[in-house]
Subunit: 449 residues, 4 copies
Amino acid sequence: MKKDRLKIVTIGGGSSYTPELIEGYIKRKDELPIKEIWLVDIEEGKEKLEIVGNLAKRMVENAGLDWEIHLTLDRREALKDADFVSTQFRVGLLDARIKDERIPLSHGLIGQETNGAGGMFKAFRTVPVILDIVKDMKELCPDAWLVNFTNPSGMITEAVLKYGNFEKVVGLCNVPINHIMHESKLIEKNPDDLFFHFAGLNHHHWHKVYDKEGNDLTELVIEKMFNSNEPIVKNIRYIPFFKEQIRDLGMLPCSYHQYYYLQDDMLKKELEEYAKNETRAEKVKKVEAELFELYKDPNLKEKPAQLSQRGGTYYSDAACELISSIYNDKRSTMVVSTRNNGALADLPYDCAVEVSSIITASGPKPINFGKLPTAARGLVQVMKAMEELTIEAAVTGNYGTALQAFILNPLVPGGQIARTVLNEMLVAHKKHLPQFAEAIEKIEKGELK
Amino acid sequence: MKKDRLKIVTIGGGSSYTPELIEGYIKRKDELPIKEIWLVDIEEGKEKLEIVGNLAKRMVENAGLDWEIHLTLDRREALKDADFVSTQFRVGLLDARIKDERIPLSHGLIGQETNGAGGMFKAFRTVPVILDIVKDMKELCPDAWLVNFTNPSGMITEAVLKYGNFEKVVGLCNVPINHIMHESKLIEKNPDDLFFHFAGLNHHHWHKVYDKEGNDLTELVIEKMFNSNEPIVKNIRYIPFFKEQIRDLGMLPCSYHQYYYLQDDMLKKELEEYAKNETRAEKVKKVEAELFELYKDPNLKEKPAQLSQRGGTYYSDAACELISSIYNDKRSTMVVSTRNNGALADLPYDCAVEVSSIITASGPKPINFGKLPTAARGLVQVMKAMEELTIEAAVTGNYGTALQAFILNPLVPGGQIARTVLNEMLVAHKKHLPQFAEAIEKIEKGELK
Amino acid sequence: MKKDRLKIVTIGGGSSYTPELIEGYIKRKDELPIKEIWLVDIEEGKEKLEIVGNLAKRMVENAGLDWEIHLTLDRREALKDADFVSTQFRVGLLDARIKDERIPLSHGLIGQETNGAGGMFKAFRTVPVILDIVKDMKELCPDAWLVNFTNPSGMITEAVLKYGNFEKVVGLCNVPINHIMHESKLIEKNPDDLFFHFAGLNHHHWHKVYDKEGNDLTELVIEKMFNSNEPIVKNIRYIPFFKEQIRDLGMLPCSYHQYYYLQDDMLKKELEEYAKNETRAEKVKKVEAELFELYKDPNLKEKPAQLSQRGGTYYSDAACELISSIYNDKRSTMVVSTRNNGALADLPYDCAVEVSSIITASGPKPINFGKLPTAARGLVQVMKAMEELTIEAAVTGNYGTALQAFILNPLVPGGQIARTVLNEMLVAHKKHLPQFAEAIEKIEKGELK
Amino acid sequence: MKKDRLKIVTIGGGSSYTPELIEGYIKRKDELPIKEIWLVDIEEGKEKLEIVGNLAKRMVENAGLDWEIHLTLDRREALKDADFVSTQFRVGLLDARIKDERIPLSHGLIGQETNGAGGMFKAFRTVPVILDIVKDMKELCPDAWLVNFTNPSGMITEAVLKYGNFEKVVGLCNVPINHIMHESKLIEKNPDDLFFHFAGLNHHHWHKVYDKEGNDLTELVIEKMFNSNEPIVKNIRYIPFFKEQIRDLGMLPCSYHQYYYLQDDMLKKELEEYAKNETRAEKVKKVEAELFELYKDPNLKEKPAQLSQRGGTYYSDAACELISSIYNDKRSTMVVSTRNNGALADLPYDCAVEVSSIITASGPKPINFGKLPTAARGLVQVMKAMEELTIEAAVTGNYGTALQAFILNPLVPGGQIARTVLNEMLVAHKKHLPQFAEAIEKIEKGELK
C-alpha cells in the first residue's frame, strides 16, 4: 500500500540550501502528502540547523501547512521509518572545501571540488559517512529511497551501490537542469518542447537536443552557444569552448568540461582568484554567512532571492521533483546518477552513470544511449577509472590506490607534484580521514614523501 | 516545421485489418491532422482493396471527417511526400501462410508463421519486397517513418535497418499490449497504474511488472496466471506454462513462448488441427472471407465486431498510437522493435530488439533492460542468430545460409528432415522467391536433396 | 623450487583407461620425475582397482622404473601433498550411463552422455563429488593442478572454477586430438606442420586449419571430409554432415555436432541400437568386462591393443602430455577447457570454454579466437546457458532450474515430455542425487508430474 | 608452396639502423633463404642510402653470402613480388623529429615522439605515406607481410588495418624485448625460463612475469626494479617510478609510462635538455652523423659497436626474428602490434593492440589477456581514443579532429595552449601535411588561432 503520510529526512539539514528544499516541498504540497520533515545535522552544525530550521518552520506555517518540522542531532531517530532520505551534508564544512581548492592551487593545480583533487578528497571524507548512513537505513528504514546530492554525487552513488549494497539510491545534480533551461532559452523554445538526451558521469556528461518534430537540434544549439557569452551554471566561471572541437564532437559538453577542455586557461583564472583569496569556496563561505544573517530574521517567511547567487539553482527543486516522481510514479524524464546496466555501452556494466532516465515508482530506468563518440568515450573512461579508484581508496585508506587515482586524474599531472599535493591534503584533512591514519602518520614522520 | 496536414500510406491496404486502422485514426482525429490516407495494394488484391477501401470511406464520412481516402495500385504515387507509411502486406496472401503452416506439419514439425519454419519463409518472401519499398521511400519520402506490422515484424525491422540502411523504421506487434491488458485484468489493476518492462525479440520477449508503489509484481502475476485458464492472445491456442520453470525464470514469458517451452504439446495440438484442415491459416482464411462479405454491406459504416475474432486485437490501434506518439512527441512508453544500441546487453549492439521504449518525435528510445536471466539469455541469443541468418538468406538467396538458419531454429530438428522441409517449401513458394531461383532449380532437378 | 619427485593421483583409478594413462607416463619418463602414482577408487570399484592397479604395477616394473604405485580407497591420504590430480571417475558406474542413454530413448529423445539429457544427469551426479574433491585439495594439496577428464568435462571445469573457487583446474577431452590426427591424415600432412585453431565448448567446438605457409586450409579439409566416410572419433557413430551447411559456416564442426546438426537422423540410429540393447553404454560395458578379463592376466605387462576400441584414444595420452607441459613449461598448444577471460568474445567472460591454449607452468593461456560466425555463435550461446543452468541445478538441487536447463537443451523438446524424462531420470538416479531429494520425494508421491 | 627464395624489401633503407637489420638476416641465414634484399629510399635520402647500402653489401659479402643487395629510389620496382616488406622510414627526417620535440617544449609541454604531441605529428606525417605503400603492396605484392617499425608503430598498424584494409601487417617495437632482457637480468634468470605476458598499446603496455614453476614473479621484479638504478631502454632518460603506485597496480609498466606516471618530473628534465639544445632528437642527429661517418669506411664490414648507442637495441633483431617466425611458422611468443579481436577485453574489438602473441605462418595470434586492473584500464582507454582520433585526423586533415585528439592526450593540457602548439606544429610541418592544407592556410592568415 502506498503510504499516505510521508516522513522525509534531510541529512545536512543545516545547509543554506534547505530553504530551497522546503520551498520545493511547499510547491508540491498537492503531490506529496508530507507529515514530517526531519532536518538532521551534527554538533558542529547545531547553530546553523537552528537558524535554518526555524526559517523552515516559518515557511511551512506561512504556507498554511500542518507539516511537522523536526530539528535533531540524532540521525537514527530521524531515519526510523523514513520514506525518503536526502543527503546534502558537507564533511568538514566549507573550511574543508577551501583546503580542497587552495592546496592544489598553491602547487599550480586546479582543485575542483567535484572531480579534481579537491573532489577526490571530498569523496575520501564523504564515502565513509554515507556508508554509515546506509548501514543505519538498512536497519531503520530499509524501504526508503536515498536521494543524494552531496558531491561528488556520482561517486557517492557508486559507493552506496557497490560498497553499501543498497539499491534504492539516486544521485542528483543541478547541472543538467541548468543546461536544459539555458539552452532552451538560447534557441527560444519551451524546455517541455525539447528532448534532452544526457549521458556520461556526474559533472562529466554530454547531451543531444531534439525538438518536437524529431529534428536533432544539437548543432543549432552548439552554434547558438558560440554566439552567447552567458555562463550556463552560475557558480562556475565561464570560458567559451572551442568551436572546432565541439562541432567535431557533435554533442554538447556540460559546463564542468571547461576544467578539462580548457584546463590551462581555467587554471590561470583560478590562480588569480587564489591570489586574491577569492576562490569559489571562499566566496561561497562569504555568501553563506550573509545568507544565515538573512535567515535569522524572524520576519523572513520565504526563500530569500539572494539564495540563487549561492549557485545551487534548481538543485533542491530537482530533489523535490525526483521524490515526487518516485512517489507518484510520474515516469517523467530526469537526469540522475544511477546504475549503468548497459545504458552506456562504453562503461562498466555495474558502475554509476548520470543519464536521462524515466523516473518510476520502482526507481530510475535509464534511457539507452549506446556508444559515445570517440573523444567522449576515451575521456569518460579514464574519469570512471579514476572514480572507481577514488572510491576504493576512500573505503580502504590505501595510499597506493589514492596515488593511482590522483595520477590518473587528467587534472593532476603525474610525478612528485602529485605525491606532494596528495600528502599535504591528507595531513590537512587528517581529522576527517580516519581510514588513512597509517599513511598520514608516515607522512608526518617524513617516511612518505 | 511540424507538418499540419498529414499524408499517411498503408501498404497492403486491402487487408481485413484496415477498418481497425481507420477506426484508430478516427479515434485520434484530434491528435492527428490527417489530410490523406492512401491504401495501396497489388493487382491480386485489387478486389479486396476496393471492398475495404469503400468501407474506409464510409467510416470516415460517418465520422464527419474530410479526410481523402485514396485507393491505388501505384505504390510510388502513394509514397510521394508521405509522412507515415505503415506496412501490413502479406506476400502470397493467406494461401502462402497455409503452406507455411501445413508443409512443416506434414513432416511432423510446427510451422509457426512468425519464427518457426513458416515465419522464416515469410521473411524470405517479405524481405526483398520491404527493401524495395524502402528504396522507394528513400527517393520519394525520405523523412517519413516506416511503421511495420508485417510479420515477422522484428526480422523485417532488422532487414530495413541493416540492409535497407534506413533508420526511420519501427516494428510493431500486438502481443505486448495484449499481455498488458490481460495481466492488468488478472491482478485487477488499471494498466495505467502499472509499469510493464519488456525485453527480447518480436514474439520472443519477456517482461516484468511493477506497480505505482514501486513493488515488483512479477511473481504475483505469475501466480495469478497459473490460476487462470484464459488465453492471453486470442489467435493462438493456449496451453499453460510450467509453474516451476516460470517461477525459476522470474519473468513473464510472452504467449509465443508456448511454441518453445511447450513445443511437443503444441505440436500435438497443431497436428490435430492439421488433420482437420483447421490450421490457424485455414481458419483465418475462412474468417477473412466472412469479414469481406460483411465489409461489402454499404450500410456498414463502422468496424464490425467480428473483426476482433481475427486475432489482431489492438494491432492497428497500436500502430495509430505509435504514429500519434511520434507526431506529438508523446514520450509515452510503448513496446516496439527498434535498434538495440545496448538496451539488451546480451544481444548484438546493432540488431533489432523488441523492448519498452519512450516514443519521441525522433523515434523510439529504448529503456535499458540490461542482462537477462540465464535461461532467457541463451534462448534469445540462439533466436537472434537464427533471425540474422534468415535475413541474410532472404537477401542473398544462399541455400547453405537458409539451411543453417533452419537447423539453428529450435523448432526445426537438425538432419535430413530439415532439408526435406526446406526444399519442399522453397519449391512451393517458388513464385515469391526469385532470389532462391538457382537452388530451387536444383531441387526440382533432383540435384539438391 | 621446482619439485624433483612428483606425486600424481588419479581419482577413479580403477577405470579401464588407467593402463593408457600409465603407458602415457612411461612414455614421458624422461620428462616427468615421478615418485609415486596413487590410484584412488571407492568401495564399489575396489575389485577393478585391484585388477587394473596390478596391471599398472607390472607395466611400470616391465619398463624398469622404480615408481611406487599405491592403490587406495582413502582419497584424503592420496591427495596429501599431491602435485597433480587427475579425475576420471564415473559416479554410478556404467549402469548409470546406461540409464542416461536408455531413459531418454525410451521417450524418443537422444540421451547423449555429454551434453544431452544424459550428460546433464552426469553433471548432476558428478558436480557435488568434484566440489568435494576440490574442498579436500584446497586443504591437502592447494598447489596441485586438477586435470579433469570426467565428463561432461567442460561443465565440471566450470563448476570447479565458479563454485569450487579453485583456479588450478584444466578440463581435457580427446575429441580435439582425434580431429587433429584424422584431418591431418585426410590432407596428407604431418599434424606438426599444421596449426589447428579450436574454439567453443567441450564437445561443442569448431576449428580452422592453417598450414606452415600461412594458408587457411579449412575449406580444403571440409572438401576432403566430404570425400571420406571414416568416423573421426571411434566411439560415436558417423553420419556425414551437410556440405552446404558446413561450407557456409566456414569452420570444421566437431564430431559431436552430429547430435545437433543431424539430430533427427542420429535419433533414428540410436533408437535402432536401443531396440537391440546396443546403446553405446551397453557396448562399452561389454568391452570393459572383456578388458578386465584381459587385465587379470598376470603375464600382461603392457597396455593391450583392445583398449583402443574402448573409444578413449589419445585421452589419457592427452592428460599425460598436459601434465608434462605444465611441469616443463612447454608452451605448446593444446585444446583445453579453461576460463574464457574474453578469448571467445561471444561467451560470458568468466565461463569455461574449450579453446586452443598455450600450456605454461602457470597454466593454460587461451589463444584469442574472437567472434564466431553467426550460426556457431547462436548455438554455442544457447549451449553455454544450458550448461550454466545445469551446473546451478547440480549445486542447488532446484527442480525449476533443472527443468529450465532441460527445456533449453536443443536435444530436449519443450513440453510435458521434458518433465516426464526429467522426473524418470531423477528417480532412477536417486541414490546419487542427494541434492534433489525433495523433488524426488514429490515425484515419487505423484505430487510433481 | 612455400617460397624457397625470398625477396625482402626495406622502405627507409637509408636508415642508420639498416646494418643491424642486415646483421639480423645474416644471423638467420640458415632459417631464411634470402635471394634479394631491396633497400628503398627517397631522393632526399639518396646519399645515406648509398653509404649504408654499400656497408650492407660489404657485410653480406664478408659473411660469404650470395644475396643480392639492391639500392633504389623506385619503390614500386622494389615491391614487385616481394615476400616481406619492412618499413623504417621517417617522413621529414630527424629535423622533423627535432620540431616534434622542441615546439611543445618551447610552450612547456613534453613533445614525446611516439605518443605525445610529437608522436601525433609523426602519425599525421606518416599515415598518408604508409597508406600509399599499402596501396602499392595490394597491387604489386598482395601476399607479402608488412612488418612496420616506423613509429608510432601501433597507430601505423591500426591505420593499415582500418584505413588500408590490409590484414597482413604486424607492428614491432623494441621496448618489450628490452624489458625482457633487463628484468631477466634483474632477477638473475634466463629469459627463456620466464614467461612475460604483455598487454596494452605500443609504448603504453604493462606486463606480468612467470617462471618455469608457474610462480607469478611480477611482485619480485617490481621489488628488484626499485633496488636498481639502471634505465631499461637506453634511449630514454630514467626516473624511478613510485613504489606504492606500481605495487598497487600489480603489473610492470613499460619504460614509456614515465611520461605519464612521472609527467611533471620528466618535463623538467626535458626542459633542461631543451635549453641546452640536447633534446633526444638533437642527440640522435649527432650520433647518426657520426655513424654515417663510420659507415663510409670501406674497411668496415660488420655492424659497428657504436650503433647500440643509437637506442634501437634489439629493434631490427626483433624484425628479423618476426620474419623468420612467420616464414618458419615458429609459434614462438613475441610482443607485437596486431588487431585486438578481444584479446584485451577493455579495448575496442577491432583496434590495434600490442600484446604477447604466438607467431604462426598465418600471422600473430594474440594470447588472451582479459581485463586490466582499473588504473591501467582507464589510461589505456583514453590513449586508444586519442590514437583513433589522431589516425582519423591524419587521414581526413580535419582540424577539429586533430584538436580533439590533442586535448584528449594526457600530455597536452586542454585550453588555448593546445591550439597554439597544434597550430605552430601544423605550420612547421606544412610540407609533409598536404591533408591539412586548408587549416594551415587559415592559420597562416591568422583566421585560426
